[in-house]
Symmetry: C2
Subunit: 206 residues, 2 copies
């Protein structure tokens, strides 16, 4: 099969052109277009053109927080690794993941709950605005829901895109019902790569 | 929506049961079933039941190499982060990624090629058996193809699962034509999460 001869720096641009060609006449909301296309780019899955849900003003809220050096907290090391740190560093932002921290692992075991749940409790105690980027654990979303209802956690926004089969659809619907600023991939699909893609799309467009 | 009350340790088991329920009567090759199901588990995408291609004996070859302390080389930090290190450490295996190494970045710039290509050249010089886990860069696969044809690189196996729109389908087909031991996600889909899932599925079943 023929390989297209293309400069490294042009591959991403060409990819987005092909995505647009495949989308054809389909119009995406300009406010969310860059995010939706980057999710498609990272997964080659066009379902994201339909499954992504945005609360009003969420993208601007995230951008404002990033400009002020917010913390992004992911529920996996993989999500953390996938987020581009260059510009975030310049803005004084940090990308954190507590899921493998010794104290988190210990508490989760003692209480018989997931590490993801305990890691959210740790995030809620940070003294900075927090953007939660959840690509893996429904229990992280349920923990956010509880703490938010109890007035103990007010994240700037929740990127709610876990993937999977147990409590995934339900926990995402609960984030939508909660009314917290959120970007949600409805349905079973999502992942740490999608969480990272959403954060990257937002920072690349500011 | 109702949340299923389930112990943390049972979530994965229940997920695989649901995957089997959705697959229904569909029979997967027992040799590859664990790998295919883990790719579905990590993506909620049932296309992997059809798109994964295995060369004869590839899974056993990877297991044998892991037992002897092989190196797994990924083309992204995200793939590296997604691979479970516990058992691999015990077997003396390492999970490496050269794509952000200073020397790789420098050489790629000088030659006007991708970092992924140069990173493969670095992997080819390792003095251990190497399993390539490529979830992102078609150019990594093309580099493997060239070096293999020139007799300069004999990886134990190539996990060829880049995702995307430029040269992705073509580069995977070339790995299939090459005859190197390989696991390939045909088509546009794949990703660092899929590369990690394949390595994890293999190590969890040995």
């Amino acid at each position: 099969m023929k390989i297209e001869n293309i400069k490294p720096g042009d591959i991403e641009k060409r990819s987005f052109e092909i995505i647009q060609e495949i989308l054809g006449d389909r119009k995406l909301d300009p406010k969310y277009e860059a995010i939706i296309k980057r999710c498609i780019h990272t997964s080659a899955d066009f379902e994201y053109a339909d499954s992504l849900y945005f609360t009003e003003g969420v993208v601007e809220a995230i951008k404002d927080a990033l400009k002020k050096g917010a913390y992004i907290v992911t529920d996996t090391k993989m999500g953390q690794a996938g987020i581009n740190k260059k510009k975030l560093d310049e803005m004084g932002c940090k990308v954190l993941s507590f899921v493998s921290d010794e104290d988190v692992v210990k508490k989760a075991k003692e209480r018989g709950v997931t590490r993801s749940l305990v890691a959210v409790e740790k995030a809620a105690k940070l003294d900075k605005p927090v953007i939660m980027a959840v690509g893996n654990a429904p229990t992280a979303l349920l923990s956010i829901e509880s703490l938010y209802k109890e007035g103990k956690f007010k994240p700037v926004a929740v990127i709610a895109v876990p993937v999977g089969f147990v409590n995934v659809i339900e926990s995402k619907e609960r984030i939508i019902d909660l009314g917290v600023p959120a970007i949600v991939a409805k349905g079973r699909k999502g992942g740490s790569n999608i969480a990272a893609a959403i954060i990257n799309a937002i920072q690349y467009n500011m």
